[in-house]
Amino acid sequence: MIVFLLAACTPEPTAQPAPEALDASWIATVVREPAKFTSTLADNGGRDAWTALHRNDWLAVPGGVESVPARRASAELAVFEGLLWAAQSTALLTLADGWHAHSPDAPEPRWLLASAQRVAELRRDGVSADRWRTAAAMAGTATGTAGSKPFAFDLPPTTSVAELRALSARPLQDPSLGSFWDPTRPLALQRAYATGAAPRAADLPDTLFGAVPEAALGAAPASDDVEACRVYAQAIDAHLDAWGVRLEEGASNDGRALLTQLQLIAVGRSRTLSSLAVDALDHQRPACGLFYAEQALDHASSRAISPVNSPTLFAVLAAANVATGHVREALDALTALREPFPEAIGVIETVGDLAVQQGLDRSGISREN
């Protein structure tokens, strides 16, 4: 199975490259054994499926439950939607907490009260921790209780496909409010379940992110000190750059072409940094999470999903921005998801409401140029 394995074997931390670790990664397989790469494509879902997966166009990955790329796409979606849940739930709670202070003359809308209550319950249940595992475990089985609420707040990890359809079949709220998941738009993950391409727990650790080469570089900083995280990210860059040069030097023409055309080093770098960002967020280090996510982004095409810029990266950017108080900036990241993931509109609206709330008492400033 082609997996992304940047995990290093060298026990001692060192700034020197650890080629033996990276040589075990799927990137090395693709570049050094193009023929094996080709046969793998044929055996595990087909070229179209792998191509779509590489583009991070997960919803376009064809295949059923036995298709490796389809299962990987589903697993990616589980993480992605877990991060969206993190962004939205944080925004929702902050919005509800600040409502009275900012809007004392306007009663909290029922949807906000009820949604915030539900989020708080889920957080107490530990949904926010270790999100992707929880999301994967819950997505297909939990019935949830959203259907019993007088509002339509659908949380991706807790609403089954059947329930989602039931919810979408009846009018639920004043559409002008529009500040939560739109129940008429099925979640991507639910779509994956509906097609039978459910993620399996075994797929998740290997497929979602590249493990950080800790053995070569030492563990990532445990504090939320951005400067320390910057130094660590620079070490990763140096490590990957040096390895990439050696990989290219030893590759055949076909392998070299794949390395370039598939942007493999850039993809590996982005996944590694995305992984660090998610980990930092999970461990209450939002400033570092934001830094890693910004570093992971391909800035030259920062508005679109691409092989380097995955939906997960935009989601972690949004979640980290919300967690650090940069709510307006979170909307920039979420905007990239607006068209490919219509269900993200609910998240965008919630985060947007929070951004507006935070500016209710401010004077705007404008400048020319």
Binding site: P104, H299, R303, G325, L331, T335, S363, S366, R367, N369
Partner: protein, 510 residues
Amino acid sequence: MIRLSARSAMSLTLLLVGSAHASALRYAEDQAPAIINPLFTTSMAETRVSELLFQSLYADDHTLASVPQLAESGELSTDRLHMTVRLRDDVTWQDGTALTAKDVVFTVKAMKDPATASTEAGRAAFISDVREVGDRAVQFDFVRPELRPEDKLTFKILPAASFPTSPVKRTDPFRTSPIGSGPWSLVKFNDDSSVSFAANPAYHGADGRDDVGIAQITLKEIADKNYQAKLLLYESIDALVRVLPRDLAMLESNRKVELYPYQTNSWWYAGFNLDRAPFNDLKVRQALTEMLDIPAMLAPIGTGDTITGPYVPSSPFYNHDTAAYPHDPDAAAALLTAAGYTRDAGGWTKGGRKLAITVSAHRALESGQEVTINLQSQLQAQGVEVDVDFLDEAQWRQQVWKDRNYDVVLSQWTFDRNEDIREQFHSTGTRNLADLKDPEVDRLLDAARDAGDPVSRKSALRQAHQRIHDDAPMVFLWTLDSYAALSTHVRQVTVHPFTFFTWAPEWQMQ
């Protein structure tokens, strides 16, 4: 390949000769501020310099929450109509004199005085009166109840003693010898159009910090934006405050440089003068809009998103249901015909007069010449006679803003995260350059201002977006990716999304 003009090449040589000073930060601006006075700030370059030199009562912390800066504490009355702000007692101006309540009162009154014509007047409009309460406290009276006035008390405070005459004028000597209380102070305007700043030894930060990590800062005016990035790679400068989108790929592949996304709320427009025929005719404005292939104008200058109204697509106020005017020459021709124009071999005419326009743009607008010429080419191909006029700062200020002597301006607006377009589109707005007067737009902007909750404000401004789009006072063009780029020698960098240098006292040079 980067092509340099002779003048640019000479400047580059001079910059390279004078390069590399490890304890100093050198950053590039397209144009150095002509004056330094926060009461008259119009450009982002001036905003950034003000951030180096001046402080405010409250400022953003790293989570963008308002925290005391010159203020020590604030007490809001129960009716929310008054606030007493107590000042810190350890703040001095760079000349050593103490900052007192008198300075705060002076600043607010100068902002509000119509004779000052401060560009910041709108930021003090919520204050009905202000008075000293002893040396270290100020009482503000508000026009209406304020929930969190500290969020608005973020304008820069000036030293009253530096302005012996009233009213304050742009031409006061302060403009070239400003005195502030901020982390840096002005050293001099240099002959090469650079501006030098040095750490202010009298600085006392609200966070207890008495010094800054970077001793000297130099603003380098590098008008030719095409080679700013190259200078950063040559290590002749340490920071670019705004990277050309087309340079992003080159910079992000260089490990000596880090990119910082920071400011997102800018958009370009081609604005009509609604007081002047034929632009007072909606059909003509819509026709000119539909003649333009906006994505084709955007493509040469980099990545970005086209827009349909006065917000960027990521804004919570952007109305995604608003459809863009199509690029449709036939429809444009029909609109002009309906407006009374006829077309012959010489182009469009009405009453014997050609449809002829002049497009004015500021010389310092990045890629402005490229866009203007593209716009000219597109309109001329469809029978509209177009002249272009590139204006320097003084001409722009006089001709466009003071005399309003223009047909169409190409420019860009940048907003902080509140994205308040009231000044640009309300009939009473001080920056309503087009002179749009639409009672419905006014009503919606008033409703947004008065909205007590985010949902109501969002709803009103999305409607305003649609209405302004329909009025077509300008051709809404695009928003570009905004990045700063800094050398990795600069450490501990965090960039404020609008004012840029707010947290620069923490930066260090390696």
